[in-house]
Subunit: 340 residues, 2 copies
């Protein structure tokens, strides 16, 4: 069956996340030993899906630490060979395989520049794990499909733990306990994803829109729809979309508006209403009543990113099957992309 | 004539840039007084085209200062109300109008958190200019078309001057002297843009690819093609593209590979060759011999971003005219986008 591997990877998520929740205090304590005081700044190093997990990390860590968080531009190190003084900073490298050469190189160079270094990876024996002072093992087990699913949500969880280690966050241990069940609830009901995929079968593209914490899910949803279902989907911040790309909006290209109850929801809803007024077909992935792609009302934003990401994976898988595309091994992609 | 305003804005660029080159030492000296020692870190605050100018700033300033540069996530301040400790940091807000509320708010909040603040804007009496300790006036004059052109290249120049103020750069005063002439040379010959627009007339989209310094031009080229010509174009880092989006590549969607002689050119050329091997129609915007959209061999990367951006504007204008779209006033866009 097409998509068997992706479905199996996805189904592992409640257990993978439950195990991370179980290990939570130990991971946070390891990270705290690395960066005992507030870091001067934080740099995150990633590519692909991991880079979208890092977009979540960027919001969560900056809010917790009260220090700006930068997403690294790897080419500055790997192609242009710049030297940076990052004494007092925390650098976090993220890679499912731990074997993307440029991620390892950039983390090593930031370490040489004085940063404390942490790795988030699914392979604790990988070059990335060995290059870092502390390694957070995702414990997701081998990911068999090429599109990242269980490692993506595990990376979101890991970044949330980095945020806890460097400051104070708006979520509690009780909120964490709800995460595996919320993800399981999404997985248990695929009717909404099937129905949404039906409406997208012949769509020429999809514009995925969110803001704030959920932005990472809009970006990852678009990437997953490309990788798994070969749909040319795009992810945009609702604010950036209004600053230009909206000019190329067309009735033929539907939009997916993502939100969870919180400070960013009203802004996303306003953009969705504007697009509806232009007859752009609109789907909502939200805890709002009536959303075509519902997510549970708990846990609260920002941890709602995890069930929301799983709903988006489910949509990508359902659409791949409808479009007759093999999501497990997309054309032109390998599990490890050796960019330098 | 459709596109008259955009053409007029574009034509002003050699003079606008020549004037910035003339004011260069004064601007750098103003900025140096603001941030006399190396800043602890740098945050750039922008949206839309200005955010793509900030992507250039991010590379240029990080390379010069040897300190990580972060692109702000405005919603952390405007929606989530976080407090940040940015004592010793430099914050730079960038907005053509100087009147996008969220940009002003974020710069004010970073100032309240201890950062030294600079503004880059085309209106020295704007709220953004007044919110900053030092304001760099672009001096581009009123921009009449909605898509930013002359203010974008002026913002690139301004960011290059910020880089000079905080560290040492790889370009010289003599390189600066070549910029206005290189831009004028691009504007003087529109045959290549007309020919490229002919091949794109009925294209369903375009994928714009670059890496390193030129990445900002790939992003801006895609935005300009959307705004001015309503073509659903996308901009990607060549490295990020390989990590997933490449899976949705189709023969029907051409690609535009952007490069200038320098450390990133080989990587972009390798990706272009791979896409050609899949029969994806490919255009090159480059100083490489035979490029469909040529740019002069001088000034060197990174300042080559300026003539490259102008070549991309020219393509967007030519394509708008071929497609019968009015580039001066795109549907759904206003000159000022009041995001909060």
């Amino acid at each position: 069956v097409s998509g068997e591997l992706m479905a199996r990877d996805m189904a592992a998520q409640p257990a993978v996340l439950a195990e991370l929740v179980r290990r939570r205090e130990g991971i946070v304590s390891d990270l705290r030993r690395l960066a005992p005081a507030a870091p001067a700044g934080v740099v995150l190093v990633a590519r692909g899906s991991s880079d979208y997990a890092a977009v979540f990390g960027r919001y969560a860590i900056e809010a917790a630490a009260g220090r700006p968080v930068a997403l690294a531009a790897p080419s500055l190190h790997t192609l242009y060979g710049i030297d940076t003084d990052v004494r007092g900073w925390l650098a976090v490298g993220v890679s499912q395989s731990g074997r993307t050469p440029e991620i390892v190189t950039v983390l090593e160079r930031l370490g040489a520049g004085g940063a404390r270094t942490a790795a988030i990876t699914n392979d604790g024996a990988s070059p990335l794990a060995r290059a870092a002072e502390v390694s957070v093992a995702l414990g997701a087990g081998p990911e068999e499909a090429v599109p990242a699913t269980k490692t993506f949500t595990a990376e979101l969880a890991a970044f949330a733990l980095v945020a806890e280690a460097v400051g104070s966050t708006g979520w509690s241990a009780a909120d964490w306990e709800e995460v595996p069940a919320a993800v399981a609830a999404v997985l248990a009901d695929s009717d909404s994803a099937d129905a949404a995929a039906r409406t997208l079968t012949d769509a020429p593209g999809l514009v995925c829109l969110a803001r704030g914490y959920l932005l990472c899910v809009a970006l990852e949803a678009a990437l997953k729809l490309r990788e798994a279902a070969a749909l040319p989907a795009e992810g945009w911040s609702a604010a950036d979309f209004r600053h230009g790309p909206i000019a190329a909006s067309r009735r033929e290209v539907p939009a997916l508006a993502l939100s969870a109850s919180g400070a960013a929801a009203a802004d996303v809803a306003a953009l969705a209403d504007r697009l509806r007024g232009w007859d752009v077909p609109l789907l909502e992935l939200s805890d709002r009543p009536g959303a075509e792609l519902p997510i549970p009302a708990r846990p609260p934003e920002p941890l709602a990113c995890l069930p929301a990401a799983v709903r988006a994976q489910q949509l990508a898988l359902a659409l791949a099957r409808r479009r007759g595309v093999d999501p497990d091994r997309p054309a032109g992609l390998a599990k490890l992309t050796p960019t330098v």
